[in-house]
């Protein structure tokens, strides 16, 4: 691939999705965009870039951006962030939100939906304790194809065996051909929406819990910082943030602090000591 084409594509990707590509990732562009070029009847990535330069097509730019996202996800990924949700976060919210009985949860880069659906299954398992509450789970992602799959709630045999306990499969899935579909009662607990993390969070409102896992790794340092600091502004000081296993706030922003002993969990830096204690980090 020509250096000026790499430059052109990586600049576009950075601007559209925040994706930071170093020149050693040329192979990634080639392996992901060649199939896209072929589908459009072009014979490779050079022709694809030429087409993009010539037409300046928004649709094509978007397809390229989508194709360059990494969408891997699985149910109850890394387990701990979901155990903490069940054992610390939910009891804390039940107490601290008892007056308004309203909780809003955001999965900020939800890909094919396993993350918000894992939370929904945890909540469903303790449904009786939440009668009369309004609990919203919102899953957003920049890429349309993954959102479509998330909405359908259809997963392969491979996908339902990575992280999903067999009891949950028996309880909440039905077999459809060689796929497994989540029950409507779980699907209806999650709302999916297309949303780019580089844009203003204002239309989304405020959240008590944000899962922003395995997406910041693709951004450069200033973008990570900026996204995290905007997230801080849309949560109360007793809100909770979860990042992926390879991500942290340390060295990036002081808006949040890690919680000792609770891997992946972060609280606003100004959280009261009672909240920190309730979160398990006393």
């Amino acid at each position: 691939m020509r250096p000026e084409d790499f430059e052109f594509l990586s600049r576009m990707l950075k601007r559209r999705s925040g994706l930071t590509l170093n020149p050693d990732k040329v192979y990634l562009l080639e392996s992901r965009l060649t199939p896209l070029a072929r589908r459009r009847g072009l014979d490779g990535i050079d022709a694809l870039v030429a087409e993009l330069r010539r037409t300046n097509s928004e649709t094509l730019a978007r397809e390229i951006t989508d194709a360059m996202t990494t969408n891997e996800s699985f149910f109850f990924r890394d387990r701990t962030p979901f155990d903490i949700f069940e054992r610390q976060v939910l009891p804390m919210l039940r107490q601290r939100r008892a007056a308004g009985k309203r909780v809003r949860i955001w999965c900020a880069a939800c890909s094919t939906g396993q993350e918000p659906y894992s939370l929904a299954m945890i909540l469903k398992n303790q449904e009786a304790q939440w009668r009369g509450w309004s609990i919203e789970i919102i899953g957003t992602d920049i890429a349309r194809p993954v959102l479509k799959k998330a909405e359908a709630g259809l997963y392969s045999q491979f996908e339902v065996q990575r992280g999903l306990p067999i009891q949950m499969l028996m309880k909440y899935f039905t077999q459809v051909g060689d796929q497994w579909q989540l029950a409507p009662e779980i699907r209806s607990m999650v709302k999916f929406k297309e949303f780019n993390l580089l844009e203003s969070f204002a239309p989304l409102g405020h959240f008590d819990v944000i899962y922003c896992r395995n997406v910041l790794i693709y951004f450069d340092q200033p973008t990570k910082k900026e996204v995290l600091e905007r997230m801080r502004k849309i949560m109360p000081s007793d809100g909770v943030l979860f990042l992926g296993a390879a991500e942290t706030v340390l060295g990036i922003t002081d808006a949040f602090r890690p919680v000792r002993g609770q891997r992946g969990m972060y609280l606003p830096a100004d959280a009261e000591e009672t909240v920190v204690a309730a979160a398990g980090g006393a």
């Binding site: 699985f74 491979f158 065996q161 990575r162 992280g163 067999i166 499969l169 028996m170 039905t174 077999q175």
Partner: protein, 121 residues
Amino acid sequence: MKSCLVVDDSKVIRRVARRILEEMNFEIREAADGKDALESCSEKMPDVVLLDWNMPVMDGLEFLKRVRALPNVRQPIVVFCTTENDMSHIRQAMEAGADEYIMKPFDREIIEAKFSQVGLM
């Protein structure tokens, strides 16, 4: 080191499972059917059994029922690993006392996920 008894009538599958589990630091024994597996268990009870369903002589479900009926033994964790992939088989296995259920084909990732589910890692 935890021990795992791999029960499958296919030598190829046993070999694949052995390779994955040895890398996960399990000590492996093998059995080719349920009866063979019961004998192995009576010699030394493994920590976990990776169990195929359809096998000659004695199938996996029968083996599971007999193991669960044994008095005064330290019961092993039992993870089914079979091509039977419909809900009624899964239910039957879980009702008979299985701890987890793998639908073939499997790979290292699935074995690791399921073993960590039942607290083995």
